[in-house]
Symmetry: D2
Subunit: 468 residues, 4 copies
């Protein structure tokens, strides 16, 4: 329903007799970060075995497949993808056989100079298998003259720029890395002597792993039979983790960048109430993502919290509408407004963000159709005015309603009696008011790293025509 | 997660140019009533066209299939099934070609004399295609000498006993019927001149249909180009609708048996607080079914409502556990306990029922592992002591922990600091305290209709061995 | 390529520990009798286990399926079918559960009063599952009041008229039957104490079974742990086996109706040479069915036998022709004319029959294009002037070129320098000249049994619209 | 049945509005050269579109796929493969996107220095996608600094050694090439202004193309809108075409290396009769490959030609044998010996070659079991003593019975009354007795090109474990 989508969740395991099974469970805990494809590669110390498929984790990995992914080490990847035709070809982990043996990699993020590097590599004879930016990394590694895999990885990472949380798997080693800005989360845990790396702590929880620490921005962690070693990509790091992980992406029960997401969201809701309170009868969340902020808002305002919108969790991505159109169809297949709760009430409805405004408009109308006297929309983040280049799939700037419209105009468009966003100051209130420690480019346009590539490759045309 | 399962959801449409599309949407709104198979039959006035498949509605019905189900009338069915092998063969709607042409039927409920009737029909030469009780109905209809389809249906319904909400489709007519006890819900709505029949009002909501009324216990409604006509199966009706629809099965945004489910559940929670309040810091629901009662409990008790358990909605039915077992695995793949919410707190956890006790035990331990000081389990219904024979798939009496154990014993088993169920009196509080107007056999053992069949048919063995 | 098609091959096994495996091998030997669907039902003495699928035997039955078809008795069926939509629903063996337990049946032939019987059965309440004539038999058996399965089968067979070779399987018994005219072949064999029944002896050969005898016209053979018993459907039998089995259908290495097919075909070729010899340089068969007759013709005429047409055995049923048409396309995908063999030669080309004439016309032109000086077509059977109602799928009379055209006209149409058919007298020469002992209705119009049914059922429309 | 297998058939089309359809038909005519996978790539002058799949051509290419392969140029490939797991990954044509755009290639043959070249390429950073030798070529082309595609191809071909018939497709050009020894066949034809390249002339015949000439050994033909241009890989060529194409591989109706295969085989049979005649009653071929030689033998000897072994063309690759073994099972599923033909006869059975001897042994016993008095095996080629390294999949030397056993010993092993092979001199009789103009390494061990690679790559292990 939300037009923002996290591109990926990743996981890595070392030192467990059923490493692939742990990766599979970790990916299922991270399913919210990518629902279109999943893959796991495992190692028994000598050869890599892989399986990837289109669909949810539990569809791609029936028991007989998990059992065939033998070995004590593994990496896994969930993917969100916009390209229809070549889903499987572009699925991760990428697996290659190169001069030094097998190598697999899974990536969450986006490299901003991948096109430039690819053109250089192709000019010297490299042949690419996919259209994903991640493949540039393996060609850089293959072309490196360094002797050890960790040195080749460091050399490759020094050439790329942008956002990355990465796990590599060679037959003997698991390597995890995070870019010097720390855009995307990556945490380290332990379970019964084994190491687990994952995008969020909810993956550690499911496999009974204890949370050790974050992989640091600019850090490379190499795990092998010799234990864990840590390296640095560059001496200087900036540390601007993505604030939208708190607002929307991460699972509420995860700890990311050192804080529990549910508590942050509740705090955003409390702050929102303090900034933009309004006389009302009930507080209603847009489920599921709006629930924690709505609980916070209700607590702070003293208003009753009610599930006035019920979500249908069984619906798939697209639904077929009759030609004879149904009111609010796109929203209604997922949410139903409860007349018994809303009728005759002044309603505060809490959501985490507004993208194009079309969904919010339908929700407001649906609540009013159910008998609400007033509908006050409250958003637990500032207006989203700029696209993300660091691993989140966002609409273009033109499609973001807040990029060209004032809050008043948006409020009119969505037909709310009032609309208020959280202030930028309020967004940082939970950090003690200190700004600048996060990437908030989607709200402010302050991009920590500039995008270097230009244009759309012809390969995309090729992808689209490939009938595979 | 819950061991109680509704066996089916049904829907019927008459007089709409895209009747199958409306049935498909209605089934998707009723997906919670059956997730294992789905089917739709449509009629253009002359021939019936059908499609059934194993899986969720949006998987079984891609757009090209929905388009091929042409015609102005349709019926549909969602199914929950325990039998693995023969899922498709036993899927509904049943479609037959008999002496008077084509006929399709979809059934929610359970016939308690089906085996007896089947034996009689087979003795006179009838050949059954499936092992579902519903097939008895079509053989009775085929064997009837009555002239009209409605008379044949009435004749057949007079022979069967038990629970049924039914929709039939002949090339020319849609027929809906409900047993004289009104065990299972069935409502009637209208949209732009068309008629819609469905198990719950949430299906009407999705297709923009207005709620007209319930199909009455013992009523048969016949809809054709001549309009709507109503018949009675028998002069006397009893009206004992299933109270468990309120407690657990129905969607909270539905109106069943004349009341909004969400409000009933909140009321059960308020009542539970009044009966069994306990000093505590927070109220936490077992999501999703426990949410409304927990909100009611929190409101009545004045304690804060918190989402201390986070549900993963992406998980499938079965997950593969590593040999090296994970604590609380079966529950943990669906729920994660939040330390940041629970640590150092006295927690009231609200659920709607306890079946075997194993899940509740894991939940209690999971909450305590997350740091809770005290865990008080509160159940928004009385102890479930008896199996259902009227269309709900329940464990046997032996497996119901409350059938042989006191509340104290159960509380000890689940390791809660305290356990309280709602009293029977409390259950009826929302009805003004009046008892007897519902079937509450699962709590009381008072079965309105006796079961006549005995034993397990040999066909089940056959089913199990059939490699199809 | 040929427009005549045998509708089925059948097999039955009793008393072998891997009865389903033997049925599977027997069906593979009988694959030429039906390539569109296959099915096997096995019994372990208590329950029937079945599997059916669309495709060739080795595609429908991978090893894991064969292993699951446990038991010491089995029946199997290959099917040729014209209906696209409902292939699987109409596939055989039919399996039903009726008042006396499980029963399966596989049928080669065609019942000429099935529609009439079906209407009667439906009027008294029977519900049919398929649109195959065979299902009438199981309803008659289910409706029978006789006590034993063999008596019920006899009672049912006395009601039906037409052509049938049948195998029935109940949990305890294998029953084989042949109609009183003996239209379709059915033989009995033994292997290591087990009994095998099959349409042709080539199925016995593959499983190392020795040929015992034919099932006699009008005979019912019942095989159980008590041994083999034989019954008669009616006191009088006629014995008019299908002569087209010799001409085209049966595999050349089979013995049917007591004679080896290859030798009969060679004899037909010798006779054809004697009747219609022509000065020529080489004799060329239309492979594969024309090979034995061409060898006979070559021997009798003293002309060299040459493979002037090469067959591509890998082609499927339909091939996609470019818009810019290819000469002789429909024939060329299966046959290629060899210039090195045909150039400058006077060619006798031998085929077994001509249906519409379009294929023969393309073959003649293709041979001439390859440089032949003269093309003399010789057909090893008389002109086919009438459709078959006894189990062969033939075009309608209007489509049979010989029904309305003289041999001269056909010769002109196919552009041969000369055309000759075998005479009716010649056809019987291999039997010592005696006529009347076979059904030759396709050549003569003398139908031993009249067709009773009329019209096309509406169910076919339903079949066509069913999107399954 | 035969343990020798051709590895591939290839085809290319340029200048036809339905180029992919012609490729598809050409591949179907070449299906005998590879039945495990098929692929087509087409070009509309700008982008390449591809489809590959596992199975026969008509299964891999349904009509909707063929229609999506738009454009005026195309190449196609049939593949025989021994590797089970990675069939699709190793299927051809290979398609890559490299620095100069898209390129596809299809290969028949085997490069004898591919491993060495691959190791060099990987050492400088190339990443390989598959385990087929052909991929070396595209990496050499990608690494070339030459300006035109034809110069890059020439540069790459000068680096490889071994056997190759190749077709390349870039968006603008079709390139065909044959190694300087001319091991594998490749012919050029025309149809209505379009060019067609194919392994054998039978592919030209099916699409109505006229045979123009062979692609010469060492020749590179470049076809584009500018017409056809011819280049040479090297100044010197040797021309040693594979004699086994005549003996077994090519379709009898093809012209390869300038001669019609059927006539060559008949001549081999005549020569065999002249060299090793024996008193007998009938001549029987092992169908289908032994038929032409048997016809030649029968003509030369004056003995009758009889189809004493009938082949079942419907059987798949593997059949499941009952535990209770069947005599001659492996052969019997494909061949049945006819008692009516063989009984009481002295039989000459003609086959083209003997590999391990196990099949011949079963055939001899099967014929004797059918009543033959004497069985004389005659082979229409010399003993096969050495494996092929030029594109034929052969057993190792140890498995070739003739590598370590005399003709007498082999005759005893197969239990024939007599065994005779064609002499080497006889093999060349049809060429006027001149030897040396062909590669006959499988008979003589005279390998025109030495094998340079050693060992088995570890990648094969990886392939075998990959569960995809």
């Amino acid at each position: 329903m939300k037009a923002f989508r996290e591109k990926c969740g990743i996981v890595g395991v070392y030192g467990h007799p059923e490493a692939a099974n742990l990766a599979y469970l970790g990916l299922s805990a991270l399913q919210h970060r990518g629902q279109e494809a999943a893959g796991i590669v495992s190692s028994d110390g000598q050869v890599l075995v892989s399986h990837r498929g289109v669909g949810l984790v539990h569809d791609v990995f029936p028991e007989e497949i998990v059992r065939r992914l033998t070995g004590h080490a593994s990496i896994g990847h969930n993917r969100y993808s916009t390209t229809g035709a070549s889903q499987l070809k572009n699925a991760q982990p990428l697996v290659v056989e190169y001069g030094h043996g097998g190598l697999a990699v899974a990536h969450n993020g986006n490299l901003v100079n991948a096109e430039t590097l690819r053109a250089e590599l192709e000019a010297s004879g490299s042949i690419f298998q996919s259209s994903v930016d991640t493949e540039v990394l393996v060609h850089l590694i293959a072309a490196s003259r360094a002797e050890t895999i960790e040195d080749r990885v460091v050399e490759a990472l020094r050439a790329v720029r942008g956002a990355y949380a990465l796990v590599f798997l060679s037959p003997e080693k698991l390597i995890a890395a995070r870019d010097p800005y720390g855009f995307r989360p990556l945490v380290l845990g332990r379970v019964k002597g084994a190491w687990v790396v994952a995008s969020e702590t909810c993956a550690l929880d499911l496999v009974d792993a204890t949370y050790e620490r974050e992989i640091e921005p600019g850090e490379i962690v190499v795990i092998s039979d010799a234990g864990l070693a840590s390296y640095r990509v560059s001496p200087s790091t900036v540390n601007t983790p993505c604030i939208f992980e708190y607002v929307y992406f991460a699972r509420p029960d995860s700890t990311v960048f050192g804080r529990n997401v549910y508590q942050v969201r509740k705090e955003l809701g409390r702050q929102l109430s303090a900034e933009s309170g309004v006389p009302a009868d009930i507080v209603v969340p847009v489920p599921d993502s709006g629930v924690p902020a709505a609980i916070g808002y209700a607590e702070a305002s003293g208003l009753p919290f009610e599930m006035g919108l019920i979500r249908n969790h069984y619906v798939g991505r697209t639904f077929i509408e009759p030609r004879d159109a149904i009111r609010h169809f796109g929203v209604k297949v997922k949410l139903n407004a409860q007349r018994s709760v809303l009728e005759g009430k002044r309603v505060v409805v809490v959501d985490d963000s507004i993208v194009r405004g079309t969904t919010s408009r339908k929700i407001v109308k649906m609540i009013r159709d159910a008998g609400a006297l007033e509908v006050h929309m409250r958003i637990s983040s500032p207006p989203t005015t700029n696209p993300c280049y660091y691993g989140i799939d966002t609409p273009t700037r033109d499609e973001l309603i807040a990029s060209a419209h004032s809050v008043e105009e948006i409020g009119e468009y969505i037909t709310a009696d009032s609309l208020a966003y959280l202030s930028e100051a309020g967004l940082y209130a939970f950090l003690g008011g200190q700004r600048g420690g996060h990437c908030d480019a989607c709200f402010t346009g302050n991009y920590p790293v500039q995008v270097e590539d230009q244009g759309v490759r012809q390969l995309v045309l090729f992808d689209a025509k490939d009938p595979r």
